[in-house]
């Protein structure tokens, strides 16, 4: 039963519960009209303390497509935060008006903190600094399920900024709970996977390398990520690392015929535009999966999924 629960990190839900969200997303994709009024009369608070295109729009599109409505802000300077209001007070106030809230914040652990102030309103973490991004994980899982037939038994290459990549942290921890997953972590030494994530994995289930060319032929899934300028203190360090990996047609020739390339977007230079036409590039389809899976999540947390026609 997911009604009334918070989603702060993917570990908050059992695999069976995640699978039930995937199943509902599949149903919504098949019959979107049937779900177009399930959230009628419900209000989603969209609290974005940090810029976002895909996540915010996909949440707002998801709520609107379920027949619900939205309040919120995408610039904290337009809220009482600019007057020094605490997060706890903000959330307690918002709960007076809304049925469910989505929060993105640059500080790690923010969603967990605000969930302690919400008495009945489910809180969804839409990204907290470099920590977690669980709805991107649901998006990624739906994409893998759709384009690889399921989430078990894959060799998954994760490439780019593994240190600050919150989408990556959430995805790796979750895929680790599926059967037969092997990870190959590909990153510059400065952006390696943090030890608190590695500690959670079986040492036999992963290896680390700095060279994408050496391993691309082994992969079933290649998950690329952007080196995030906003996480660096030193601009010089960012400029040195930002183009460390560029996936192009030449590299794709070494990959399996049925490998898929994923990316949480936005991309900068890490995937050359020439790769977009390759049928193995699924990152724009992945973005669409994001809206459907968020529709399913909202419906589940509000307990309205059975109100469909």
């Amino acid at each position: 039963m997911l009604k009334g629960r918070h989603l702060i990190e993917p570990g908050d839900f059992q695999i069976e519960e995640i699978e039930s969200i995937m199943q509902l997303a599949d149903n919504i994709i098949t019959n979107p009209k049937g779900y177009s009024l399930v959230c009628k009369g419900k209000l989603l608070a969209s609290l974005f303390y940090e810029p976002s295109t895909r996540t915010r729009f996909s949440f707002e599109a998801a709520m609107l497509r379920l027949g619900g409505e939205i309040i919120g802000f995408d610039d904290p300077n337009n809220s009482s935060v600019s007057k020094g209001e605490s997060l706890g007070d903000t959330i307690r106030t918002i709960e007076c008006y809304s049925d469910i809230a989505v929060i993105r914040h640059p500080r790690e652990g923010t969603a967990r903190l605000v969930s302690k102030f919400a008495k009945e309103m489910p809180i969804i973490n839409a990204g907290d600094g470099g920590h977690e991004h669980p709805t991107q994980t649901l998006t990624d899982l739906l994409t893998i399920r759709k384009y690889k037939g399921g989430c078990d038994n894959h060799v998954v290459g994760v490439c780019g900024d593994l240190l600050f990549g919150r989408t990556i942290h959430s995805l790796v921890k979750t895929l680790n709970r599926y059967e037969g997953i092997t990870f190959i972590f590909i990153s510059p030494k400065e952006l390696k996977m943090p030890e608190n994530i590695l500690h959670q994995l079986n040492p036999d289930s992963y290896r680390e390398t700095t060279n994408l060319d050496d391993v691309i032929g082994e992969l079933d899934i290649l998950y690329m990520s952007r080196v995030q300028r906003e996480r660096f203190v030193s601009e010089e360090e960012y400029l040195r690392l930002k183009d460390y990996y560029i996936l192009d047609k030449k590299k794709m020739r070494k990959a399996k015929e049925d490998m898929i390339v994923m990316h949480p977007l936005p991309r900068v230079n890490e995937i050359a535009i020439e790769v977009d036409d390759d049928p193995r590039a699924v990152y724009f389809k992945q973005a669409k999966c994001g809206m459907y899976v968020r529709m399913a999540l909202i419906a589940k947390l509000l307990g309205v999924e059975d109100n469909n026609d």
Partner: protein, 144 residues
């Protein structure tokens, strides 16, 4: 050698590493209790060369969790009717609440007032704990 009278009831915290006694005194908030408390420091010890020791004549329960963090090698003796009836050695607590602060500069607890942050033990040898909010590892006794 200073003599301190024998304890009738309460707790003796023994084998404290020399110099840590006052820290334990502070962390246990012994200043706040009205019972008799004696802190002895730099006592000659065969095993440790020098040690600190605290005697607390009280019936009040005292949270020993913090002791495991400050000095897991201390011994705690419980005294009743002038006799020692229980002796325990400490280990690091699995969960610590309200004592530590997260060292991750990006953690929300560094920017908002958050009380009673929980930390979960992840590595006993390194005294590493995981912050309940950001999951970053923090080692106890790191300087603030």
């Amino acid at each position: 050698m200073i003599n301190v009278s024998k304890l009738k009831k309460g707790i003796i915290i023994d084998h404290i590493e020399a110099g840590h006694g006052f820290e334990i005194y502070k962390e246990l908030h012994l200043n706040d209790i009205d019972d008799v408390v004696v802190l002895l420091k730099n006592i000659p010890s065969k095993k440790m060369k020098q040690k600190d020791l605290i005697k607390i004549e009280t019936d009040l329960p005292i949270d020993m969790n913090v002791l495991g963090l400050i000095d897991p090698n201390v011994t705690i003796n419980f005294v009743k009717d002038g006799e020692m009836y229980k002796k325990i050695k400490l280990t690091l607590p699995k969960v610590v609440e309200g004592i530590m602060k997260c060292k991750n500069p990006r953690c929300i607890t560094q920017h908002e007032e958050v009380k009673e942050i929980k930390f979960y033990l992840v590595n006993e040898d390194k005294k590493q704990y995981r912050c309940e909010y950001c999951d970053a590892y923090t080692t106890f006794m790191e300087k603030e």
